[in-house]
């Protein structure tokens, strides 16, 4: 196994997270470098995710590296029944690192255990998507000037939304206060509330969006994802419960910023886009710099004692 893999945000210490964010700021100042000259990075997307794949591929290309891979499992040998273990071994003969999106949860951990080259998890089912979490943190840091002592409202699908779960874990280093805003069907699962209590993180839970984020520094909106529902009736009942409109922002803090992992559907009305508090498109752009930082970190050689140089 390569120790440099990034599978879950919990794999990174507070120091490693801050070091990635610092490095991302460097890449934002100067995104075009040739530090990956001669390196080959594989992007294996066993389920399609255009946004994440293009962002990783752009990150590699801007650093002078080359890309191989596939964007759909139908065009890969897994459609012939090849195991993930075999695919990873085969690809690691060609590539210096592997960026992987897979529909099964735990696929990235398994891949990292069998792979001789670093694995970057670009999403394993409903489980982890650490590059999204790191770009969320980078966006929070950039807009607020700090990660410490912020009030963060998480809105929408808090039950199945992996981005909000990972964000709670990652923010736990920085003394946040959370407000969970969701319908009963999509409430934050108990294990994350237990996690907050154990880490002395204050949180409140409410059902209504209106007027419930006036003290917030960050309003983190999420999409209710059809593909996470076993029961489509339940999806139809909850999909349109929260829509953020421009006039709802009048009493919010001037420094409030609205984040969303995108794509959005109905949860943010387009009239919010022109408000200076809307940050979601810039957030997506930040993903490029953060992914440049991640790819650079996993490709740094290990010293003899297993630490990175």
């Amino acid at each position: 196994m390569s120790n440099n893999s990034l599978v879950s945000i919990a794999d990174y210490s507070k120091e490693e997270i801050l070091s990635i964010l610092n490095s991302a700021a460097d890449f934002e100042a100067n995104p075009n470098r040739k530090t990956l000259d001669g390196k080959v990075i594989a992007t294996l997307f066993f389920e399609p995710s255009t946004r994440t794949r293009l962002s990783f591929e752009t990150a590699v290309i801007r650093l002078g590296g080359s890309i191989i891979g596939f964007s759909d499992a139908a065009t890969s040998s897994s459609s012939k029944g090849e195991t993930l273990n075999d695919t990873i071994h085969m690809v690691s003969c060609y590539a210096d690192a592997i960026v992987m999106r897979h529909p099964l949860e735990g696929a990235a951990r398994h891949a990292a255990e069998v792979s001789p080259v670093p694995i970057i998890n670009a999403g394993d089912g409903a489980n982890q998507h650490p590059s999204q979490t790191l770009l969320d943190l980078y966006s929070i840091l950039k807009t607020q000037g700090t990660l410490e002592n912020l009030t963060i409202c998480l809105v929408g699908d808090l039950k199945y939304g992996r981005t909000v779960h990972s964000l709670i874990m990652a923010m736990s280093h920085f003394h946040p206060t959370f407000k969970f805003i969701a319908p009963d069907e999509l409430k934050m699962p108990d294990e994350y509330k237990v996690f907050c209590r154990r880490n002395n993180i204050p949180f409140t839970e409410v059902n209504e969006l209106t007027d419930n984020f006036n003290d917030a520094d960050i309003l983190y909106m999420t999409r209710v994802q059809k593909e996470r529902f076993q029961d489509l009736m339940e999806y139809e009942q909850v999909k349109n419960v929260y829509t953020l409109r421009n006039n709802m922002l009048n009493n919010s803090k001037p420094t409030l910023r609205i984040l969303h992992p995108l794509p959005r559907v109905t949860e943010i009305n387009p009239d919010v886009d022109s408000n200076e508090k809307a940050y979601y498109f810039k957030q997506a752009q930040n993903g490029l710099y953060v992914r440049q930082a991640i790819v650079s970190k996993v490709l740094k050689p290990l010293t003899s004692n297993g630490e990175q140089e």
Binding site: T83, E105, D124, G125
Partner: protein, 151 residues
Amino acid sequence: MEKKLKVAALRNGTVIDHIPSDKLFKVVSILHLDTCLNQITLANNLESAKIGSKGLVKISDRALEVDETNKIALIAPHAKINIILDYQVVEKRPLVLPEEIREIVQCTNPNCITNHQAVTTRFHVLNNDEEIMLKCHYCEREVKRDDVKIK
């Protein structure tokens, strides 16, 4: 005294007593006793003052290793393990739940990689507050000890 005679005394080997009756055959499976060639005595639905109805396993001429007996701590935490030498109990072994459980537990998440490909299951035992939880090493889903599925 009369109770003890229901199952013949063991000269050398391992006795596992106070197994809940509904867990006896799970214990047999976890310890792979179905392929063990030693003499084995199984008894089930015996009266027990402590747990109502119990099962019992005697394995002749084999002292189970600590790693082996700890595997049953998950499903029969109150079972009693005695190692016998020349009809004497030479070791009363407490059961300790290991920090990591490999192979014997199946992940309850249908979308976990371990339920689709040949990956040995691994669970981390979390002992938070009063409840023991198992966390899948792969999909990171947590399950309560009582809801665990044994393969």
